[in-house]
Subunit: 366 residues, 2 copies
């Protein structure tokens, strides 16, 4: 018996999720480069490559370091890295272990990346500094409607040209259609993604800059990814699923492979309090969700309040409050946040614990 709360992964459900997305990408001729920030696990990443993923996406240099040390040699840091100080040196070291692609959405960040890489090459006394031998490639991030990072699609060539002029390889363009995270928003976000990437790709081509990679994808928009434009998909959450995907309709509850196992510690009429709070589930709570996660064993229940070590569950009318000590499974709203709070995941097959997997890149933020 394990003490609660803890995060549990059903390895069979995970495997089915990996297989389904791999098949989806394969059928559309898209390269699959799953985002490893979701699981931060070398074990899960190995399974993704076994299903045919071409490499991994990560969010930070620190995540890339963990996966490179674990033997992954094709990494895309899909983030506009500012390569100053120790991070510049770390990025150079990383390129000795893996083929590294980095996001950029400004001329300034491209120049900083180039300075970091070329300084290292000069320091190493390399005789060659031709662009085609650069160990670091750039992908230009464009905004497709999420309005986070990313330049306007029609300015992508400007950033790509700066990379070319600074003797960095250019892989192509990418976007994150994060506005797919809204009820019924996935199809429109996929259309926005395709439109923005088309403009960006065509701008690079018009500027004489080849654009072999056109990368997009989020879990809620992956089903509608435009195979006429995209060459690469980067979903992350699909591997494990969560309450948000369930409520968005991107997965059904039976496909949620990760939950927090929690214990009823307090009860009253119509209410139970579980011992999995925001320090286990994460505090993510977009306005369109029905609560702070979902109780897999009581789908009609609602998590109406969440503090650090308490989830307050409002039970459906007619349901007797489970006794204190009862164990229940809770799907976090956002699995990426939950995993990043745990040092290890408990692995089950058919309800039987088979071991644990380390969350190797937990806290790898820098």
């Amino acid at each position: 018996m394990r003490d609660t709360p803890c995060l549990v992964v059903d390895a069979d459900v995970l495997e089915a999720n990996l297989s389904a997305m791999a098949e989806h990408a394969r059928a559309r001729g898209l390269a699959l480069r799953p985002h490893a920030k979701t699981h931060k696990s070398l074990d899960i990443a190995r399974h993704q490559l076994a299903h045919g993923a071409v490499g991994l996406t990560v969010a930070t240099v620190a995540e890339a370091e963990v996966f490179a040390a674990g033997g992954f040699d094709d990494l895309f840091i899909a983030y506009p890295i500012w390569a100053e100080g120790p991070r510049a040196e770390r990025l150079r070291a990383l390129t000795t272990l893996a083929r590294v692609r980095v996001g950029a959405d400004s001329v300034e960040s491209v120049r900083m990346l180039a300075a970091a890489v070329h300084a290292g090459r000069r320091a190493a006394g390399s005789a060659s500094d031709r662009a085609d031998s650069t160990p670091l490639a750039i992908a230009v991030e464009v905004d497709s409607g999420h309005h986070r990072s990313g330049c306007a699609p029609d300015r992508a060539a400007e950033v790509a040209a700066a990379a070319r002029d600074a003797r960095l390889a250019v892989d192509g363009v990418f976007t994150f259609p994060g506005h797919s995270y809204g009820l019924g928003a996935g199809d429109d976000a996929a259309r926005d993604e395709a439109a923005a990437l088309t403009i960006a790709r065509d701008a690079l081509t018009a500027a004489g800059i080849p654009c072999p990679i056109v990368s997009g994808g989020s879990t809620p928009s992956a089903h509608a990814a435009d195979q006429g434009v995209l060459t690469e998909l980067r979903p992350g959450v699909y591997a494990l699923g969560d309450a948000q995907q369930w409520e968005l309709g991107s997965c059904d509850p039976a496909s949620i492979a990760l939950w927090a196992l929690a214990t009823v510690v307090s009860r009253r009429e119509g209410i139970v309090v579980l011992d999995a709070g925001s320090k286990m589930l994460g505090a993510d709570r977009p306005g369109w969700t029905t609560g702070f996660g979902r109780v897999l064993d009581a789908p009609e229940a609602r998590i109406v309040a969440l503090s650090e070590h308490h989830a307050t569950i409002s039970l459906p009318v007619g349901m007797d409050a489970p006794a204190v000590g009862t164990r229940m499974r809770v799907a976090p709203n956002h699995v990426c946040s939950a995993v990043n709070l745990a040092d290890a995941l408990v692995i089950e097959r058919a309800g039987v614990e088979t071991g644990t997997w380390s969350v190797s890149a937990r806290g790898a933020n820098t």
Copy 2:
């Protein structure tokens, strides 16, 4: 130069916060038992004891284990612990290292705690099992209006009597007036706290159960803690402060001792994007806050969106967007969540880094 994002603590501001709350408690004749879940740091806890704290409050057995191993011998696990399985054994082991008080809000949980402790005592072959030598004391948790855990105040004697009957020591009663977390709610929450604790204390007394400890307090209600009823205060956040306390009026921005140091990685008209997202700041965002944290270097700016590695900042009219690469300080909404995401805190005095402190109890959830 450190890579961003990272959490920084100004040790002088911290010290001033510790001193002010210690003086507040001392002036009112209240014992101060700070909640260590806020900082999870042995270093900060030592400073709190140096300022006169009588012991620590923690939220989990795992946190208690970390602090007991660090030499703290008076611990209150202010949580309705369900002492089953490995946790029962861990609790017994803990009582050999420290004086341990545990919360309970039901007869069932009291009986489980008693079974755990007495099983251990029998196993150890102790000749004495009188209640007054019990290494574990109970405090009855009552609900004062936050409606989380805690029994109704007029039922406190029932839980206390179960503890007495099960040969557990009873320290008294406690509550967490968490409904103090609302604009202007601190004074009313303190009144509710006093009212509930008075009912509970009087119920124990009427049942012939001594009630030496009457414990309450949250940072937003501590200023109004009723010195006529309370004997003990358990605030946590006051040590470090955060954007929520600032917006509640419980601290001013100059008293915020912890921030995330972050870098501008993307910018456009009126907007900058920083590299400190929810995996550094936490995703807490109650409806009464103005955003997902506050930018200490731009108090009028608002954090309008937060994803895992991006904080999207809307700048005030007339403020030029800082250049990519600019570093800015962000106060998280809820410092307890932010600290629990970091392995270490960078310590500064007068803007100069003096070392790091480990977040020793990070992730200690069970």
